[in-house]
């Protein structure tokens, strides 16, 4: 049958039997300027891992300052040079620069590019049954814009005036005035340029994801048969496409204010003995624009992680995800609502209090679909048959963080309560759990789960498990105590807490947090070893190691360019036929037609058989190569 389908892949087959390569290709086109979605995904992943490590190290440096304010950091001088003051302390502006770069790196470079970039690229074509992205070229550009952006952001760490230091939210006027903080000089310029390139990258990626999902699904893959991962990537890409341009505009106006003397955000400023000429600008305008991206960004970071964990939890509970349609519905609802809650970050900025009321209402509404998701996860576990693979462990960790961190959102969304909590460590605790750690765990879960498909080998189970437990407990030890510190009123972005009587306590908790942070970071090296070691020396992976239903597992162990050596399999059923009563195995892949499973079909599925067409060959494809 396969010979009747003359794709160019087939033709190649005949010539070189084993080396199935799309084009001849050399090292450069195969691994560097590749247009293959799998290679691009790996590029995003490795870059993301690099950034995660760097972001983590930065946080440990400032945690040293907070946990051990008396300690001498002299030993960091070889690395940090002049940023260590003569008496062995961290420079105060550099502390803020560290916090800023840590936030920027984690939110954008790790959890947006590293997470979406990796898994949207890797999974969309594989799970919907496409040979590649709609435009391989744009996809490649997307990575290289990200790479360029990364290089610029990275270099900014080393310039003499230091990287941007006004917080990852870069509120002007602080971010606009080099006189106010040295990081707002060249460092801020580089931040803005890097982010502009980053936005271009994420738009190119997003356009590709959306078009690919809409246009390139394989035969039978209707929207309602798509795995939840794909739904999540789809919504994420749409949110990004609509919100990133607003950040671009905000950044552009900031560039004008900084370099061309305009007054979009600046007004009535007297600094260092000089009244500036700016008049009529609004600092609040920037905050509105920033959070118009900033809040959706939270979901850009979180939705892919939720999609990944939905898939992994269903697979490893050996059960259909509970409430498939409700899961899609709540994601849709979250995606829409995420655009109209942004000002909950601005309750006490002097914004009209009536707006505050409206945004409080909308914010608490968005808690409902989030709650639904948690209940659906828990119900998926109910009466499952749970296998604790590292991927599953990290997914469970995600649900736990999402719950713990989501709960505190109900406090912060209430403007009356937020008056006290805003900009304290309570907020730091909240967003690290619900967004930072949850998404980070989603990313880890995804790496463990799809590593066999990415590299054709298994990661070591034991090391994965150790990595999970240290990280899971570590994250709680780092972020849970911050709730107490926040309720006690400790403001965030503080270099030290000893200037105030009300915040001079809790040295013990701060020390505990810092120690836990160091251990947690150390545990990530177990992962790194496992990752790189397994890439070359891991056990060879079977084609479908987790007995999963989705299409990527119908590809060969090492899918080549084009993904399927023969015809792309057609899809007949939803991705969650796990433990179907009557079935021989506890899973039925999406490409198995109902006509082959009369023993387990539900009545309405039997009706589908007629529609499956006659002599359809689409489903059996992975046969041996000729």
């Amino acid at each position: 049958m396969a010979t009747t389908v003359h794709t160019h892949h087939e033709v190649h087959h005949d010539t070189h039997a084993d080396e199935h390569e799309h084009h001849e290709g050399n090292f450069w086109t195969n691994y560097i300027f590749s247009q293959d979605h799998k290679v691009i995904a790996k590029q995003f992943l490795i870059t993301g891992i690099f950034w995660a490590l760097l972001g983590g190290i930065l946080s440990v440096i400032f945690r040293l300052q907070l946990g051990f304010p008396e300690a001498s950091l002299e030993w960091l001088r070889p690395v940090l040079g002049g940023w260590i003051t003569p008496d062995g302390k961290l420079n105060q502006e550099f502390y803020l620069a560290l916090v800023t770069m840590h936030g920027t790196i984690m939110v954008f470079f790790v959890l947006t590019a590293g997470l979406s970039g990796t898994f949207s690229n890797f999974l969309i074509p594989l799970q919907i049954g496409a040979r590649d992205m709609a435009s391989g070229f744009l996809n490649m550009l997307s990575y290289w814009f990200f790479f360029t952006s990364s290089v610029i952001m990275f270099i900014s760490l080393f310039i003499s005036t230091g990287p941007a230091g006004g917080g990852w939210t870069i509120y002007p006027p602080l971010s606009a005035l080099p006189q106010a903080i040295s990081g707002s000089g060249l460092g801020m310029t580089m931040w803005l340029v890097a982010m502009a390139l980053f936005i271009v990258s994420s738009l190119l990626g997003g356009i590709n994801y959306i078009t690919t999902i809409i246009n390139m699904r394989t035969r039978g893959m209707s929207f309602t048969k798509m795995p939840l991962t794909i739904w999540a990537f789809f919504f994420t890409a749409i949110i990004g496409l609509l919100s990133f341009p607003v950040l671009f505009a905000a950044a552009l106006l900031l560039i004008f204010d900084r370099s061309f003397g305009t007054s979009f955000y600046l007004s009535d400023i007297y600094i260092q003995g000089q009244a500036l000429a700016h008049e009529g600008g609004s600092a609040i305008l920037f905050q509105h624009l920033f959070w118009f991206l900033g809040h959706p960004e939270v979901y850009i970071v979180l939705l892919p992680a939720l999609g990944i964990s939905s898939e992994i939890i269903a697979t490893n509970s050996r059960k259909p995800i509970f409430g498939y349609k409700a899961m899609i519905g709540s994601m849709l609802f979250i995606a829409i609502l995420s655009f109209i809650v942004w000002a909950h970050h601005m309750f006490v900025t002097g914004m009209n209090p009536f707006l505050g009321s409206i945004f409080m209402l909308l914010t608490l509404i968005i808690a409902v679909p989030s709650a639904v998701k948690i209940f659906n996860y828990v119900t998926t576990l109910w009466r499952g048959n749970i296998r604790f693979t590292p991927g599953m462990l990290f997914s469970i960790g995600l649900v736990s963080f999402f719950l713990t961190g989501g709960i505190t959102g109900i406090f912060l969304g209430n403007s009356a309560i937020d008056i006290q909590l805003h900009d304290t460590y309570f907020v730091v605790a909240h967003f690290h759990l619900v967004m930072g750690s949850a998404s980070f765990f989603g990313m880890m879960a995804g790496v463990y789960h799809w590593f066999p498909k990415m590299f054709g080998r298994m990661m070591d189970h034991r090391l994965g498990v150790i990595h999970f437990w240290i990280t899971f407990v570590g994250v709680y030890m780092v972020f849970f105590p911050m709730h107490y510190i926040g309720i006690a009123g400790f403001p965030r972005r503080y270099y030290s807490f000893t200037n105030f009587a009300f915040s001079s306590g809790f040295t013990d908790l701060n020390m505990l947090v810092s120690v836990a942070a160091i251990l947690t970071l150390a545990a990530q090296f177990i992962f790194l070893f496992n990752f790189f070691y397994s890439m070359f020396r891991g056990k060879l992976a079977p084609a479908n190691p987790w007995n999963s239903n989705t299409l990527e597992w119908t590809t060969p162990r090492n899918p080549q360019h084009g993904n399927w050596p023969g015809e792309i399999p057609a899809v007949y059923r939803w991705p969650y036929d796990y433990s179907k009563p009557g079935a021989k195995e506890d899973f039925i892949p999406q490409n198995v037609p109902f006509s082959e499973t009369p023993e387990s079909n539900l009545p309405h599925e039997n009706d589908q058989i007629k529609l499956e067409g006659s002599g359809n060959s689409g489903s059996i494809v992975i046969g041996p190569k000729h």
Binding site: A180, S282, S400
Partner: protein, 357 residues
């Protein structure tokens, strides 16, 4: 020395981990593939999760109970009582939900761990269940929203006319306060008039500025509504009075405000806490540069009488900086000096007379 010990320690730990890893994989190879669909030790995780849940829930409740007084700040304002009550109501509701969901989830994880002889249930949906857990959180959240809305509307409602008006000004990296003086009205300011001495940018052509005075402490009366007018000179700052549950950004070019009523004088709070060294404080909670963490401003809550007495004891800004009298329009000079409390000397009287001719 320290460095090499750390490095050695790290190497040792890595070596041990690597050994565990090698031994582990060799054991697996030796045992051969058992054909099981799960790795050995699958059940261990189920147990560990339950242990984790119990230890952390117990730890959470225990720590929260024992250290309650350490992490809660005493309340010293009217609306603070309301917002704290909301905070604790929300805490109650969410902790109950959190505890139940956590327990249920980890119990499920334990109970439904892999068992070769069992098959998972095929249970794709249940609309009643889903509807229930959409509607119930919806109702609970609606109740929380509406109580929150009421409180928020009260807190942000317009101040009463006889509120005590005080201006707070943020700059890198210090606060200053400006009081309206006897006329109870703050005079106009303009950022272009700011200089090293005229740090408020007082517009002396406005007679209301003449009796305004500066303070490096925030004094407020107890049991009387205070309206803080807030502005910033250079970058964003944020007024944060933790004991009064007050927070409002200071924005260059956009004056903001916050009204509240203090309920306990400094002395009352000291007695209540049994700590005679206690002082109210004001901090900055919007990142503003390297000194962000050190923008401390002392706060004193006085009895009404003490407060009035304190105000009378303060010299007006103009009196402290008599050089600036020349910036007052000639016609206003005499009244300015009277208002500012500067002894009116003859030449100025004459000058005024000349000027007004």
């Amino acid at each position: 020395m320290m460095n090499s010990i750390i490095v050695l320690g790290v190497i040792l730990i890595l070596a041990i981990l690597y050994l565990i890893f090698r031994v582990g994989s060799l054991v697996t190879v030796a045992k051969g593939d058992t054909g099981s669909k799960v790795e050995s030790g699958n059940g261990t995780h189920a147990v560990l999760f339950v242990v984790f849940m119990i230890v952390s829930l117990v730890g959470f409740f225990w720590y929260s109970y024992v250290n309650f007084d350490n992490y809660t700040l005493p309340i010293a304002s009217e609306h603070g009582k309301v917002t704290d009550k909301l905070f604790w109501i929300t805490m109650g509701v969410t902790v109950v939900a959190f505890t139940i969901i956590s327990i249920v989830m980890f119990i499920f994880i334990y109970k439904y761990r892999y068992d070769e002889n069992r098959r998972a249930a095929f249970y794709p949906d249940n609309h009643y269940l889903e509807l229930t857990w959409t509607i119930i959180p919806g109702i609970v959240l609606a109740v929380l929203v509406f109580t929150g809305l009421r409180a928020w509307n009260d807190i942000t409602s317009p101040p009463s006319k006889n509120a005590e008006v005080i201006e707070l000004i943020g700059q890198q990296f210090a606060w200053t306060a400006r009081y309206p003086g006897k006329d109870k009205e703050l005079g106009n300011v303009n950022f272009k008039l700011i200089d090293a001495t005229n740090e408020f940018g007082l517009d002396l052509t406005d007679a209301k500025t003449h009796d305004d005075f500066k303070s490096l402490e925030l004094h407020i009366p107890v049991n009387k509504e205070v309206l803080l007018k807030i502005r910033a000179k250079d970058v964003l700052h944020s007024v944060y009075l933790p004991h009064f549950r007050v927070k409002m950004d200071a924005v260059p070019g956009m004056p903001t405000h916050f009204k509240f009523t203090a309920t306990k004088t400094t002395q009352e709070m000291r007695d209540e806490l049994g700590n005679q060294a206690f002082n109210y404080e004001m901090a900055c909670t919007e990142i503003c540069g390297q000194g962000h963490f050190s923008m401390r401003f002392p706060v004193v809550v006085d009895t009404e009488e003490d407060y009035e007495r304190w105000k009378l004891s303060q010299d007006s800004w103009l009196k402290s900086n008599p050089d600036y009298v020349k910036d007052v329009p000639a016609g206003l000079r005499e009244s300015a000096m009277i208002k500012a409390g500067i002894p009116v000397i003859q030449e100025v009287k004459q000058a005024t007379a000349v000027g007004s001719n």
